[in-house]
Symmetry: C2
Subunit: 556 residues, 2 copies
């Protein structure tokens, strides 16, 4: 097997690996969709490629599939009408068998060759980044620039991070070592060979909102470690992963491997294909992003596999005081608005003292804090044409119905409004709402209300806010937490509570960094230390159990 | 917190860490019990210390314990009559609460201080190595020198290995990093803090045969990562772990920590304490060595914890041919005899062609191979006084009854005999037996027969031998495998089968390295890739999930 692909991308890999150790800023894929970066033709070309796929059969074959299925509808108001090979329970044995067929050759090729294949797949996905951005936009409902960044460049960075971790772990021990034990006469000498071997088939179960960003880390970690990957996309967001599979198959075949090492298992939602695949004895690794209900089901039932889940939680902000009231309100408003709050990292619970807070603009009551956020929201979202570029579209009816029920849960401090998309008449676009409740209303704020609904929760003071933060996150999980305070004691106390609750903390964000964003190579996404996720993008634990080292030894 | 302990042992840690990367020979603890190494007084002092403990209450208190329990009987024929604080279900809440009390201070001390504490515990256990060797000898039944080596020096090396892995992982990311993202104007600058935090309480469930060697890796990995450790020893082998807990408490207290970060939970076997502890919500990590039945129960029921198990398997030797018939027979005879075959790594199934094998002494039939092994056994075990130093004693009645049933399972090729211990009249000592069966007798050889019973299994040829090796290990697991062949093709085919089956392979061992021995820092013990164990001593996966990294970030 050739090391050419690895050598082609070696420098990128080395920089990425170094960044995972220093945690300093690094990105291998430019996040700006500007023509100055990607060329004058790139945007139009990507859009045209996307449009050419709509209404057609996606050119991919899946062993065991029978007939086709098409399930995608853009939140911007049109059906994609793309059909994919449909896999049902009846086809699973053939799929699993085809997926396994190339395992041994891929295993024997070794970590360098497999890593080269993964890096080349990333490079070719990068070459199709505008097409991917359109695909992500019109499945998730993300606005275009966000789809380009989160669904394209940042997702590629997260994938590269995962490959870097996998490569570092697989090559942590040498392939061959000599062991020489001193003795009375001649030393005992042994030659030892260490081979990383894959676990078996890996299943990646995609989500609707971040089909690439959330699926690629597990996909690439498993593939680099030699595991064949079956991708089961969310029926609402198939295209971004179909493109992924297409590119992966292309690179695998060119490198001389069985293309079915990576397959797409699209389904009719009524088929419940994920459950069938998840408990197959051949499936040894599962990566899942989605609901607590199905994540818990996987953890309980797919006992033959190692299961990595990112589920839901209650992201929390503790507001104690601030020396930049305007910056705080603007930062929070942005985090509430970005992609209509449909991020697993978007803040939901804002705890603050019922008596109000101290700020650089003097004391502010709870209502005044809400008003400050409202001013910021109006600035961000007052103009419909600009608003849609931040909000994107509502991904599904569940979000809409939670939004419509929200006013019944407390005092409406900021109302949601309907936004008219200038380009897509049938797009469903809403602004976030802010509901005022008290610390006693635990039944309201202790469960996740996915979408653009946040609670301003009045407490007896910051001490109670921090206690509620700690206990709510320990019981219900969180992907993110934030604190605003000009008191070093409060910051220290909040850091301590974050260690107890096992959640990442952002302190006094008032500028262009937002609590719902995490940067590859530097920020860990999820901790695995609270109920919202059992794993983290990306740490060593995320990759180390995707392969095992098998040794042999002999005298020399 | 002081870094003194860490600095005291830093060089040892660095050497150990380097060895885990090169996999070259390293040992930090001398394996020779010679007075030239340990001094003239050491052996007698250790024996006297052990004898002084017999018949007394062990000086240790356990929160929640009520009354005492004494359950240990030496396989060399006397009762230890040592009593320990007895923990029952009623005392578990108090125990768990006391174990948790010091967690936060230990967490906040950080990885350097915690690693220093662990290394100091190892140094003090090393200072008591002769006492530990007596304790291991008279609980497990290992002969003294083996108890000194496997239960003392090698166990300390395995523990150090585990601490080295834990420290490397905890410090893989910096404690503080600066992240600076270039922008149009001023760059975005963030300071980020990364803190490794423990999972919660760790439970270590010890075994009868290797109370230290098998318990210390998990014990030290969990403790270094900040998790309080409750040690539930096997009722037959409490003392080695009681000494461990005593030393750990001493070091913890001197370093200013709560001594109950490490506790001993001795039980009456009828109490089933391990089950009660294993499902406590506070228990987040479990390390277990023992039966498949209880290991499987833990994996199925202790769902709130990450469970590391080393269970049982069917260790296999494939004999195809050899250019050193005498060396092969001697090596196999030693492996069968060492500690009466009561090692999880001892070979059980020897597959060889029914037509016999080619050797440097000409063709040998199956009976001639058995006779060759018998000659070697007689050389090793012919003299009772020498035999007991290799065999040790039979650990329990289960082993004896399996041995007595063995002749009914096939043709007795080598008979077991009773050995008279020159020093201990009531010691139960037996030599191994070798039973001839055919490939068709799968019901005999496909389950583990723990103790000095091995099967010579006649196959249609080496191809069938390798197929049976692969399928048996995949279905029933194995800790070790070996092959004898002078054909490079057979060796290659066996290596391939070992990768498929996920088991470590020893090739043509004819000298002073034995299939049932694995060297810390170089050999992985267990792979986690077959049913015999879900983890390995020690790889990154063994430590990486024992803590989580929690970050905080802020503008600077």
């Amino acid at each position: 097997m050739s090391h050419d692909l690895f050598e082609r991308h070696r420098e990128t890999l080395e920089q990425a690996t170094e960044a995972t150790r220093t945690r300093a800023y690094f990105s291998a894929f430019n996040e700006s969709p500007s023509p100055r970066v990607y060329g004058e033709e790139a945007a139009a070309g990507g859009k045209a490629a996307f449009e050419a796929m709509c209404g057609e059969a996606f050119p991919l074959s899946t062993p065991g599939a029978e007939g086709t299925v098409g399930t995608e509808k853009s939140p911007f108001g049109f059906s994609l009408d793309i059909s994919y090979p449909r896999v049902t329970e009846a086809g699973v044995p053939a799929l699993v068998s085809a997926a396994s067929a190339g395992l041994k050759e891929f295993r024997d090729a070794g970590p360098v060759v497999r890593t080269g294949v993964c890096l080349e797949i990333l490079a070719r996905l990068h070459a199709r980044i505008f097409e991917l951005a359109n695909a992500v936009q019109h499945t998730s409902g993300q606005a275009f620039v966000m789809a380009f960044q989160a669904g394209g460049a940042h997702a590629l960075d997260r994938a590269l991070e995962s490959v870097a971790y996998a490569y570092a772990e697989m090559t942590r021990v040498p392939h061959v070592a000599v062991w020489e034990k001193p003795g009375k006469g001649e030393p005992l000498r042994m030659e030892k060979t260490f081979t990383p071997v894959p676990r078996g088939i890996a299943l990646v179960i995609g989500c609707n909102t971040f089909p690439t960003w959330n699926s690629w880390p597990g996909f690439f970690a498993s593939l680099a470690c030699g595991n064949p990957v079956i991708v089961k996309p969310h029926p609402g967001a198939v295209l971004p992963l179909a493109i992924t599979v297409q590119v992966a198959q292309e690179v695998l075949a060119e490198a001389g491997f069985d293309k079915n090492l990576v397959t797409l298992a699209a389904e009719d939602p009524a088929d419940g294909l994920a459950k069938t695949l998840a408990v197959r004895p051949e499936v040894k690794l599962i990566d899942f992003t989605g609901s607590n209900a199905f994540g818990d089901w996987l953890e309980d039932n797919a006992r033959q596999a190692i299961v990595f889940t990112e589920k839901a939680g209650v992201n929390t902000v503790v507001v104690d005081s601030t020396d930049d009231f305007k910056g705080m309100c603007m930062n929070l408003a942005f985090s509430f608005s970005l992609y209509t709050g449909q991020m697993c990292t978007a803040p939901q619970n804002v705890y603050l003292p019922a008596d109000g807070i101290e700020t650089d603009q003097g004391p502010k009551s709870v209502k005044e804090v809400a008003a400050g956020i409202n001013v910021a929201l109006e600035k961000l979202l007052g103009d419909d044409a600009r608003a849609v570029e931040l909000l994107g579209g509502v991904v599904n009816d569940g979000v809409l119905s939670r939004l419509s029920e929200a006013p019944g849960r407390g005092e409406v401090l900021v109302e949601s409004r309907v936004v008219k998309h200038p380009a897509y008449d049938d797009a469903v676009v809403r602004t976030p709402t802010l509901i005022g409740v008290s610390a006693a209303d635990a039944s309201v704020y202790e469960s996740e209300c996915f979408g653009p609904v946040s609670y301003l929760i009045s407490t007896s003071g910051t001490e109670e806010s921090i206690d509620l933060f700690r206990s709510t996150v320990m019981a219900h999980g969180a992907m993110t937490a934030a604190v605003y305070s000009s008191s070093p004691e409060v910051i220290a106390s909040m850091r301590d509570a974050a260690l107890d609750a096992g959640v990442a903390l952002s302190e006094n964000l008032t500028g262009q960094v937002f609590v719902n964003q995490s940067a590859a190579f530097s920020d860990f996404h999820g901790t695995g230390a609270n109920p919202a996720a059992n794993a983290s993008y990306t740490d060593t634990a995320y990759v180390a159990s995707r392969f095992r080292v098998i040794q042999s030894r002999r005298h020399i």
